[in-house]
């Protein structure tokens, strides 16, 4: 049944694949028409590429739509010297706000009117329900106002009738003290948080000599965003925090929503709001399911800033597995930023791969590390690792080297540090020149 304010029915995540494809094609055609008729950014791009949106008849055709990346948005921003670069149609009669992208590649702006927030928020509410948020439950809302997640969560909380507490400050780890106070004082049963902040909360518990499970005793579910979490890291966090489950969300303000259901096999792509393609970064060709490539997204919401075939520069894959929950929305995984890909020993790795491997050593689960990347060809892996609280470093190093050799056929050079440099967004690559500079 379709509810007011929703674009699609609640059972859409169980539609058969053919019906989903028809739905997505219809929405893609609409958004293409909207982009080419209403938004100067696309009018100009399509004209320049001699592309006619009316020629798109199938989903496969859609790959012919010219894609673009953040740099082109930033170029337009600097050329026009204004936030409205033609990706949006401002509607002064409608409430709304401007938000920013977080800026790993540079700051750009998104215009998010109320209708955008309603559609995207209602869509996201589905994921919060999967994670257990229900009417009347208390939630800790951690997203700051500048972030599009705050705009969406505002709608989710109202939609689901939850209550919420907002801790002072922002999601930077240095505000962990306030967040922990809010969790202990107000006793939420549902927490949304950025993964680096969750680790900072564990650190704050250590400072207070407080068992994390005690601090989180009222919390049933945690929904984390902002950095990928390996399966073993999740298991360890669940055990430490004593919570029933931890869910991971993927998303970006430009359009992507992909969230985990309780089976945790991957992230279901929210087909009501976005269309996802995985593209070979070298050729621009679509890659089959299971292969890693650039994540290209199209927002299906014809309001606010509209991103059509936007190359997120994330490295991801659409998974081949079917989820045990029997939802038909496909699963995906995002591993890291494309810029963090390591060419090493003839293979492509991302820190997520290394993390998965290190997590197999109990002493190194959730212990921060960084890969020191060389500008020249890398034949071996150089890791900077924070010293774990217990264990013999030499012995751990030997086991780690054996594991990495077995898994990736790589030699490793490890360096132990008391603390890693503060990298609030969980950045795990340090360029060798910077590392050398830091040590001088």
């Amino acid at each position: 049944m379709t509810e007011p304010g929703r674009l699609v029915s609640r059972d859409m995540d169980r539609w058969p694949a053919a019906r989903l494809q028809r739905y997505q094609l219809r929405r893609l055609k609409k958004i293409l028409h909207y982009g080419s008729s209403e938004l100067p950014f696309y009018r100009e791009r399509f004209a320049k590429a001699d592309f006619d949106p009316r020629t798109i008849k199938t989903l496969a055709d859609f790959a012919r739509v010219p894609s673009f990346a953040k740099k082109e948005v930033l170029d337009a921003l600097h050329r026009k010297k204004t936030f409205d670069v033609g990706l949006e149609r401002l509607n002064r009669a409608e409430s709304g706000a401007l938000c920013m992208t977080s800026g790993t590649l540079g700051t750009s702006f998104l215009y998010l009117p109320k209708r955008w927030a309603s559609i995207r928020g209602d869509s996201l509410a589905r994921a919060y329900r999967w994670a257990g948020l229900r009417r009347g439950m208390r939630m800790l809302m951690a997203a700051p106002a500048w972030h599009s997640l705050a705009v969406q969560e505002t709608r989710v909380i109202q939609r689901l009738g939850a209550t919420c507490v907002i801790p002072w400050g922002t999601f930077l780890p240095r505000y962990a003290r306030h967040f922990l106070d809010a969790i202990i004082d107000v006793k939420p049963s549902f927490v949304t948080i950025f993964l680096p902040m969750l680790y900072a909360l564990l650190g704050e518990c250590r400072i207070r000599d407080l068992n994390p499970a005690r601090a989180f005793e009222t919390v049933d579910s945690i929904l984390v965003v902002g950095a990928p979490m390996t399966p073993l890291a999740r298991l360890n966090l669940r055990q430490q925090l004593g919570v029933k489950d931890i869910f991971e969300g993927l998303g970006n303000p430009e359009g992507l929503t992909a969230m985990e259901c309780p089976h945790h096999i991957g992230h279901h792509i929210f087909l009501d709001c976005c269309y996802v393609e995985i593209v070979d970064p070298a050729t621009g060709q679509l890659l089959p399911d299971g292969q890693r490539g650039n994540v290209v997204i199209t927002s299906l919401i014809p309001h606010g800033s509209v991103y059509i075939r936007y190359d997120t520069e994330d490295l991801g894959a659409i998974l081949t597995q079917r989820c045990a929950c029997r939802r038909t929305w496909p699963l995906m995984e995002v591993y890291d930023r494309r810029a963090n890909v390591l060419q090493i020993g003839g293979q492509q790795l991302v820190p997520y791969d290394i993390r998965s491997c290190l997590d197999e050593l109990p002493e190194l689960v959730n212990i921060p590390f960084a890969v020191v990347r060389s500008a020249s060809k890398m034949e071996r892996l150089t890791l900077l690792i924070q010293k774990p609280p217990s264990g013999n470093l030499k012995e751990i190093g030997v086991r780690m080297a054996t594991l990495l050799r077995k898994r990736f056929n790589l030699e490793v050079l490890e360096e132990w540090a008391e603390e890693l440099p503060q990298r609030w967004k969980g950045v795990t690559i340090i360029e060798e020149k910077d590392w050398r500079g830091m040590r001088v």
Binding site: F83, S95, A97, P144, T154, P167, W168, D181, K187
Partner: protein, 309 residues
């Protein structure tokens, strides 16, 4: 600004939510002296004590049987964290107070507004219904403006400068402690700030930028700088008037007095009574703000009570 961390001795908890607001309000209007003589002053320490002794996160201020829809942790460096709890009605009137502040700073329909403060500051969360659950209309929604926020951390000044340059707001609200880093960052460029922004508003919790500092920054940046006083524990906002240079108080929303030492025209600590937060009462809240009560008579709004800081 943050106040020094206080140590409180737990005392027997006093419920702060049980008073009849209508009676109090009538009394404050009819006989302010009796109101002052009979209604006890409440301090942050009292709320800290109430929280410690009762275990109630809202310091026994929340007056409904149902849990609050939304609670905000406050920016005070007290022994324990304090919160205000709100229902949608309170939130919406509080947003009206911010809307009045915006109007007094000359913000009109179609303007853009940049806020360089945390999302948990009322200057941010009351700005738009996009930012805050259960807020029906924020100041920007009421006035028809487009807001944008940037976290109020000093090291995000570069991003604040970028926002200002691309958004060209009518007004930039910024935390007082971000003013210096913002000015330093902006002055790295050569274009005057007045090319991008109409005015700056320096915002602080229970404090204001000193007038001399304001004048210096005004000269340095070349745009008018106004001040906005917050007292978050009392859900209080008071804007500096561009015409008279004093801070206007809206008597339908707040009642203000000065502590004992402030009688007879002398400076004293500002006591705030909030008339709209019936279920999160702040009655005769003793703030840290040193002020002087001034007579009404501003050319902009002749009936408003005013305070000088």
């Amino acid at each position: 600004m943050n106040q020094p961390r206080r140590k409180s001795k737990p005392r027997s908890a006093v419920r702060f939510s049980a008073r009849d607001f209508r009676l109090l309000r009538a009394q404050a209007r009819r006989d302010p002296e009796k109101f002052a003589a009979t209604v006890p002053v409440v301090t942050l320490d009292d709320w800290v004590s109430a929280k410690i002794t009762s275990g109630d996160p809202y310091s026994l201020r929340w007056g409904k049987n149902t849990p609050p829809k939304i609670a905000f942790q406050l920016e005070y460096d007290t022994e324990v964290a304090l919160y205000i709890a709100c229902d949608p009605d309170v939130l919406n009137v509080y947003a009206q107070a911010l809307r009045r502040c915006w109007s007094s700073f000359g913000i009109r329909r179609g303007d853009r507004v940049v806020i360089f403060d945390y999302g948990t500051s009322p200057v941010s969360y009351l700005a738009s219904c996009s930012f805050t659950p259960y807020l029906a209309r924020g100041a920007a929604d009421i006035l028809g403006c487009l807001p944008i926020c940037n976290d109020g951390a000093a090291n995000l000044s570069q991003r604040a400068v970028e926002i200002v340059k691309f958004v060209c707001p009518r007004v930039l609200f910024l935390r007082t402690d971000c003013l210096h880093p913002f000015a330093t960052e902006f002055n790295k460029g050569s274009t005057p700030l007045s090319s991008y922004v109409g005015a700056l508003v320096a915002v602080e919790n229970e404090g204001v930028l000193a007038a001399a500092d304001r004048d210096a920054y005004q000269k340095n940046l070349g745009v008018p700088i106004y001040r906005l006083l917050r007292a978050d524990a009392a859900l209080f906002l008071a804007p500096e008037c561009a015409r008279c240079g004093l801070f206007h108080i809206w008597p339908d929303l707040y009642h203000v007095e000065l502590s004992e030492q402030g009688k007879h025209g002398r400076e004293g600590q500002l006591l705030i009574t909030n008339w709209f937060a019936e279920h999160c009462q702040a009655v005769r809240y003793l703030s840290q703000v040193q002020a002087v009560l001034e007579r009404p008579g501003c050319p902009a709004k002749a009936t408003d009570p005013r305070i000088g800081i």
